[in-house]
């Protein structure tokens, strides 16, 4: 079946940060802008976007049942209605032959192929009904791998005949959502959003392995997953506020918390991750309506507020050939772009004064240095984040700053004190603490890792197990009562008159 494009629309909105065209201390010009392009079909529900050659981008319209194409050269769109009523395209990918594949969650679930040259759609139904297919991943041999999120399967469409095979994950109802190749495409990494685990699938032996987080890592609803060039696996926590690093060789986890939005959700809810050529991780914080970028080498996370009213959301974002970050905004019906060189004018670093080891319930001191790269004095708001709680919410008891705001001279810096006190009940592990410095529409989070040694505290144990303790007291009291009843049964005396 051949479908013609129904629209060619040029409609661009450009919004800039408050610190756009600023000059940093090294004299480098930064042009920090988020460009937003509105999709021609209203309420189309753009859900996922991929980058294609020649500054072209493909995206799915979840609510409108269309496949979209965006031409960045002239900011114009083409749309292709999917030839099935009420189709629900969720995500997409492009194979090495230039064909666009997308998942369709309508009905029992299917995978579609769209050939841009012929504009022909081909549908492949999943053998398992109600499979809710989501993420797709073509390999170098043009096989298409995909997840069946409610059928608990990893699926494969084998090139060239596209025979469909399903591989069931070991944990039942694990909720496989996103997938990524490990090094050399020998392994597929999978986030199990219901199980809160990370799975790997060996493409040679067709066997699964699973990684469960230790007690100090929550891993709530993991969704996004990418592998870096060192073989580390990066996962986004959609039910929390963190990007989490897994080192598979020793099964260690590290948490990189975002700032926590001050709204009804209290989590940033990162859905998906993209990794650029420098190893930096880009993501959209759904409930914070920000674009975030984590540089694992410097340990600095930057966040850029998205200038739209609806919280930005997408299940797949893209990086173009220049490294610019592209994302869809489901609610605002837009496609957004952040330039690769976007940066906050602030730098935040944390220096732990007494080393990085602390016992739970004890306090260590830190020095926080905030640097202003602008050529004008600014006032910076300070906040905290950490992995002490699953949501990232951090109390002033856990991290106490000397001040909640600081004035910085042009090109100057300021150092303030911080006292870090992990909860007395925290189990041993590597925790992260972050100081969020915000100026206008961007933030910089300086991160530090501390090794917390959980120690047994009787009071802490009582506090965390008070119900058990009280139930034990109830049992003792009940036994005491029964014993007293037996001892003091009515002492009946016979009295003769």
């Amino acid at each position: 079946m051949s479908i013609s494009p129904i629209g060619l629309v040029n409609w661009v909105t450009t919004q800039s940060f408050g610190f756009s065209n600023a000059t940093n201390v090294s004299g480098q010009q930064t042009t920090n802008q988020i460009r937003l392009n509105t999709i021609p079909t209203s309420n189309a529900g753009p859900n996922a976007i991929i980058s294609a050659p020649n500054e072209t981008f493909w995206f799915v319209e979840f609510s409108a049942g269309k496949l979209g194409e965006f031409f960045a050269q002239n900011d114009s769109f083409k749309e292709f209605p999917i030839p099935e009523n009420h189709s629900i395209p969720a995500s997409l990918a492009m194979d090495r032959l230039g064909r666009v594949w997308f998942s369709d969650q309508s009905g029992n679930g299917s995978i579609w192929m769209f050939d841009p040259e012929t504009e022909h759609f081909t549908q492949y139904n999943t053998p398992t009904p109600k499979s809710t297919p989501l993420f797709l991943l073509p390999d170098d041999h043009n096989n298409i791998w995909f997840t069946e999120s409610t059928a608990n399967n990893l699926g494969e469409l084998s090139y060239p005949g596209y025979k469909m095979t399903e591989y069931t994950l070991p944990t039942s109802d694990s909720g496989p959502v996103e997938i990524a190749f490990g090094q050399n495409q020998s392994v597929i990494w999978i986030t199990e959003t219901f199980a809160g685990k990370i799975a790997s699938f060996d493409l040679n032996s067709h066997t699964f392995a699973e990684f469960s987080p230790p007690s100090f890592v929550s891993l709530r609803s993991p969704v996004g997953i990418v592998a870096d060039r060192f073989g580390n696996i990066w996962v986004s926590e959609h039910g929390g506020s963190a990007v989490i690093e897994l080192t598979p060789s020793n099964s260690t986890f590290r948490i990189y918390p975002t700032s926590v939005p001050n709204n009804e959700y209290s989590i940033s809810a990162i859905a998906t991750l993209a990794i650029d050529s420098q190893g930096r991780l880009w993501f959209v914080e759904h409930f914070a309506n920000k674009v975030g970028r984590l540089d694992p080498i410097t340990g600095i996370m930057e966040e850029f507020q998205i200038p739209s009213s609806q919280p930005a959301y997408s299940v797949l974002n893209a990086l173009d050939s220049l490294g610019n970050f592209w994302f869809t905004e489901f609610g605002s019906n837009q496609i957004g772009e952040v330039p690769y060189n976007a940066s906050s004018p602030l730098r935040t670093s944390i220096q732990l004064v007494q080393g990085s080891q602390v016992s739970s319930g004890s306090t260590i001191d830190a020095e926080v240095t905030i640097t202003n790269s602008l050529s004008s004095p600014i006032s910076v708001a300070l906040n905290t984040t950490s992995s002490f709680s699953p949501t990232g919410l951090t109390s002033t008891q856990q991290i106490a700053l000397d001040t909640s705001s600081v004035s910085l001279p042009a090109g100057g810096k300021e150092t303030i004190g911080a006292r870090i006190t992990p909860n007395a009940t925290l189990p041993s592990g590597i925790y992260s603490v972050g100081i969020v410095a915000t100026y206008e529409n961007s933030s910089t989070i300086g991160l530090a890792f501390i090794s917390v040694k959980g120690q047994f505290s009787f009071v802490g144990w009582i506090a965390s197990n008070y119900q058990l303790v009280v139930i034990a007291v109830i049992v003792i009291l009940a036994a005491t009562y029964l014993a007293m009843s037996r001892r003091s049964k009515p002492n009946r005396r016979k009295t003769n008159h």
């Binding site: 809710t132 999120s149 959609h238 919280p311 009280v470 109830i474 009562y481 009843s485 005396r493």
Partner: protein, 113 residues
């Protein structure tokens, strides 16, 4: 032949009443805490599922799990313990009052004599 309670029953009855009252109160307190925390936990789970539902394309909640029978059993046990000890407390208070009435009447009789 006349049966009457000995005088030394008065002090154990007070102690027993106190013990049963504390037991009932603690049971009720733990039960209340558990029920409220379970309620808020369910509310949190519902709000979380609503949050997830705002994320189109992602699966909506897990179908795994089911009723937590151990927690339900603990809650029921606590409710039974609280009810039994409330009843025992009331019974002991009544007995103590009756014992007091008997003692008073005995004292009255001895005064009359």
């Amino acid at each position: 032949m006349k049966e009457r309670y000995s005088l030394r029953l008065k002090i154990p009855l007070q102690t027993r009443s106190l013990v049963s009252l504390i037991t009932a109160s603690l049971s009720f307190w733990v039960l209340f805490n558990r029920v409220t925390s379970e309620f808020f936990s369910v509310q949190l789970q519902i709000s979380f599922l609503k949050v997830v539902a705002k994320c189109p394309g992602l699966p909506y909640g897990s179908t795994s799990g089911g009723p937590d029978y151990i927690d339900i059993a603990v809650d029921l046990g606590l409710a039974v313990v609280a009810a039994v000890f409330i009843a025992l407390t009331i019974r002991d208070i009544r007995r103590r009052r009756n014992a007091g009435t008997v003692e008073d009447s005995e004292n009255q009789e001895s005064d009359d004599l």
